[in-house]
């Protein structure tokens, strides 16, 4: 039994409690017993005293009777009356012998000895016990205990009547150990008869052992006590002293004693019994405790086991409910708990695996089912196909009709899809507006039939509150084992396929491995990009914007260049769009801003005042912290905002115009310049264009490329420049590569030129060098 176990604790508690109670009882009983024995002994001694006195009285009466028999004898009386001395003595002697009196004498009324069996010479001497005759006025014999010559005598004196008393007969019987033993037999106490004379205490008779008798006078001499505890020869006695007779000077006492060991003997026996009983009780308690503990802990352990099994997922256990006790209640609760947990788990499973809105299995369930199906197919060498159905322009429906309507649409779609497929097929809601379909046993080619069925599902329009709604879907398909050999793979494939279906407008697409690699590369690229920002693998290149007016090159566009340690130079086109998609562009932009502002600041300190523009992505435009960042960077660098320009694209702006406008206004408030990049290629509205606090317009290279050959383009460019100039904006033309174009642009009134004609983007140092050379040429040309 472990010390921590409940059974152990119960047993220890039971046994401990009992032991404590027993100990307490023992102590209390012992104390009480000692007290009682003391009181009892005292009472016994008191009673013993009374018994002793009564015994002595009775003995006295007996002796008086014996004496009176003699005194009544006719012959004796006659002899006494007639003073027949011989007869008197002979009668006395005979009587004495018969009744065994050691002392026998006849005395006259004036207390003179008439005859004495002890010694004939005593005749005529004074009667030695006059006090004996004075005791009471009673006419019967008197008795007393007297101390005569070192011995204790019972004395009896009776009158001889004829009929008037003429003499006294005195009889004496020695009191010895036998008498003491008689008294002991009656009282149960140790009896000692002693006298206190001139030489101290003298012991006449005693029932005590000899050695203790010898020790007695010493013990007594200490006090004239009535009641005390005395020690004799190692034995402790409770004793009581009582006066029996004798004179004032020489009193005679009886000492009653009880050995303490005697009084305590039954008490010790009781203690012994108690201890044995206690031992038995404790043993029984131990056994009972173990049994009870087992009865409690066994079901508890059983329940603990049940709980453990519940924990490990077994909800089907049969929990025995034994009785209505607390343990039974616990068992009942555990059983209920088991059911409840099972139910809740089912519920959770349902929730986990079920899409709340449509009631269809959700993505998690679908993936699991797919995994299982793949396992099965792999084992059987079969096939399966996964379809991903994405609703076209569902976001718009949500925006225009509201989310509740949108939800109803989804529910309807889910229901229709379910109807449209076989029983074996699994329809699941994959994401917001995507549904996944698992077609086990179906190969990619056959899937086309299903796809067609699906499209027909959407042919019927949806009715919402009486309003018809047209919905279309794009379906991507991928198959096992051709396109992937695990669920994740297949899902990725089918995802790509669906997107392709959407973009291509075909509305269905079967996965093609070529879709893949781009993506894969992109993923690793993101990580690399992050590292690149951290490790300064990025550099800023500057492409000058040359002024057509005076040929000065005091402006430039900053462009990011990435030198990947393994791949080498990574074209911006390869990572910028991706960065934009992932939102990492913000980090890149921050980095750019920081570097550019610091660089321009450094240049300004050397007396070189150049204005550099940095590209902002759509994400950057929507970043509320951007104005603050720019402000702080400018302040850190100590650069006036005039030398910074931020470029945004049309489409980038149009994503969330209101929000972007707000940010732009804030940026403009800082004092920086703002430019619209790739103008003409995006979906901008003139209305907004009016509102934008821009200072610059950059015409996209597409329009610039053939303005020298294409009249249409030229017209556009010219009107754009006019528009810009009328709006008070600076106009920049991008992608200028040839002199003729430069001439055309100059004629049109364009302000600045950016392009390979002048320079490709260069690192800072190279840029400065180019500028120097260029400026030098310009000076020479103009001068």
């Amino acid at each position: 039994m472990r010390t921590q176990s409940l059974a152990f604790r119960i047993v220890v508690l039971f046994v401990g409690l009992l032991a404590a109670v027993l100990l307490l009882t023992f102590v209390v009983v012992s104390a009480a017993n000692l007290q009682i024995s003391h009181t009892t002994t005292a009472a016994e001694l008191q009673t013993g005293e009374r018994v002793l006195h009564r015994l002595l009285e009775q003995r006295g009466a007996q002796l008086a009777q014996a004496a009176s028999v003699l005194a009544q004898d006719y012959g004796f009386r006659q002899a006494v009356a007639t003073r027949d001395a011989d007869t008197i003595v002979s009668v006395l002697q005979n009587s004495g012998a018969r009744i065994q009196a050691q002392l026998l004498m006849l005395s006259s009324l004036d207390n003179q000895i008439i005859a004495d069996t002890a010694d004939a010479a005593h005749k005529g001497k004074p009667y030695p016990f006059p006090q004996l005759l004075n005791q009471t006025s009673d006419a019967t014999g008197k008795t007393d205990i007297e101390w005569i010559g070192g011995k204790l005598y019972w004395l009896v004196a009776v009158p001889v009547r004829v009929p008037l008393p003429i003499a006294w007969v005195t009889m004496g019987f020695v009191v010895d150990d036998a008498t003491a033993r008689d008294m002991q037999a009656l009282s149960g106490l140790q009896v000692t008869l002693l006298g206190h004379g001139a030489e101290g205490y003298e012991i006449f008779a005693s029932t005590l052992p000899t050695d203790q008798v010898r020790a007695l006078p010493n013990s007594l001499s200490r006090a004239d006590m009535k009641e005390a505890t005395i020690n004799l020869g190692g034995e402790s006695y409770e004793a009581r002293l009582t006066r029996l007779g004798g004179s004032e000077r020489e009193p005679i006492y009886g000492l009653l004693a009880r050995a303490r060991s005697e009084t305590l003997a039954p008490f010790y026996k009781l203690e012994e019994t108690l201890v044995i009983l206690a031992g038995i009780a404790l043993l029984l308690c131990l056994v009972a405790g173990l049994k009870i503990a087992a009865r409690i802990t066994q079901p508890l352990r059983g329940l603990a086991e049940v709980a453990r099994r519940i924990q490990s997922g077994d909800y089907r256990q049969d929990v025995q409910v034994q009785d209505a006790s607390e343990i039974g209640q616990l068992a009942g609760s555990v059983a209920h708990m088991q059911t409840a947990i099972a139910e809740r788990e089912a519920e959770i499973m349902k929730l986990a695996y079920q899409d709340a809105l449509t009631g269809l299995p959700n993505r998690v369930r679908f993936v699991r089912a797919l995994t299982k199906a793949i396992e099965r197919a792999r084992g059987e060498g079969g096939k399966l196909t996964v379809l991903l159905i994405g609703l076209d322009r569902f976001q718009q429906i949500n925006d225009t009709l509201g989310h509740p309507m949108g939800d109803r649409v989804l529910v309807e779609v889910g229901a229709r899809l379910k109807e449209a497929v076989r029983d074996d097929d699994l329809v699941a809601r994959q994401a917001g507006d995507e549904f996944a379909l698992l077609l086990p046993g179906v190969d990619a080619a056959d899937a086309l039939h299903t796809i067609a069925r699906i499209h027909r599902v959407f042919d019927r329009h949806f009715e919402l509150d009486g309003r018809p709604l047209d919905l279309r879907a794009s379906v991507g398909a991928a198959g096992f084992p051709e396109h992937g050999d695990d669920a994740t793979e297949l899902m990725r494939c089918v995802d790509l396929a669906m997107y392709r279906a959407k973009r291509s407008g075909e509305r269905q697409a079967l996965y093609d491995p070529t879709y893949r690699t781009f993506r894969q590369e992109h993923l690793s690229l993101l990580g690399d990009l992050q590292r690149a920002v951290e490790r300064n693998e990025l550099t800023v290149y500057y492409q000058p914007k040359v002024s057509l007016a005076d040929g000065s090159a005091n402006e430039a566009e900053a462009l990011v260049r990435w030198m990947h340690p393994e791949r080498g130079f990574v074209p911006p086109g390869d990572f910028i769009p991706f960065a934009e998609q992932t939102g990492y562009i913000k980090e890149v932009t921050r980095w750019m801003l920081a570097r550019v502002i610091s660089q321009v600041g450094a240049w300004s300190e050397t007396g070189l005042y150049l204005k550099v523009s940095v590209n902002l992505s759509t994400r950057d435009l929507l970043d509320p912290g951007l104005p603050e960042l720019v402000a702080s960077l400018l302040e850190q660098a100590g650069l006036a905002p005039d030398y910074l320009c931020l470029e945004i694209t049309e489409s980038g702006f149009m994503e969330e115009p209101a929000h972007a406008l707000d940010i732009l206004r804030k940026l403009r408030a800082l004092g920086v310049s703002l430019a619209i990049d790739d103008y003409g290629t995006g979906f901008s509205s003139l209305a907004y264009l009016r509102k934008l606090p821009i200072t610059e317009l950059k015409i996209d290279r597409a329009f610039v490329l053939e303005i020298d050959r294409n009249a249409g383009d030229a017209l556009i460019v010219r009107s754009t420049i006019e528009l810009g100039k009328r709006l008070g904006l600076k106009v920049v033309a991008e992608g200028v590569e040839t002199q003729p174009i430069v001439d055309v642009l100059a004629e049109m009134g364009c302000d600045l030129i950016q392009g390979y004609f002048y320079s490709k983007p260069l690192p800072a140092e190279a840029f400065l060098q180019w500028r120097e050379t260029h400026m030098g040429a310009v000076t020479m040309a103009s001068g």
Binding site: Q72, Y74, R77, Q78, A81, T82, S137, D138, A139, T140, P159, R161, V162, P163, L164, P165
Partner: protein
Amino acid sequence: MQKSCFAALILALSGWAQAASVEIHLVDGAGKPLADAAAYLEPLGSKAPASKATAVIDQVDKEFVPLVTVMQTGTLVRFPNRDNIRHHVYSFSPAKTFDLPLYSGTKADPVLFDKPGQVVLGCNIHDWMIAYALVVDTPWFGKSNEQGLVKIDDIPPGEYTARAWHPYQAADAAAQTIKVGAPAEPKLHFQIKLAPQPPRPKPKSY
């Protein structure tokens, strides 16, 4: 017999003409009248005539009745045993030592008290019973009554020694000489001091 009868007659005749009475008054030490006291006159110088009287000391309800009897020497004392139960009268007095068993239904012989003196009688069976007899050598005696008075009649004139006695007396009262026959009847007064009596056994009555 005849002689004494004659002598008695003459005496009686001579005395009768002048026979007198003597009144004796007896008191105890405190002066209170003393009953059961004996008073007697002994003629001075001559001998009193003998008599053949009888006295009775009865046993009634286990007691001697009377307690005190005064008698002349030579009196026969009868013990009638009115109780009619077993008694055993005895005395160890020197004046008369005897013991007389009495049985129910049996008449016992009388006992002759032939010596002067004090006799204390007891019963062996009932040890509280006691009686006193005073045997005197004169016919002229009496026992005092409750008033402590004794009247002795028919006393021939002459000189007498008067003595008094009580069983509880501490000591003999002094004798007194009186003259009988004088014109006035002599009145005698004796004071007898009594001694404390030893405690007597008491019969147990249930």
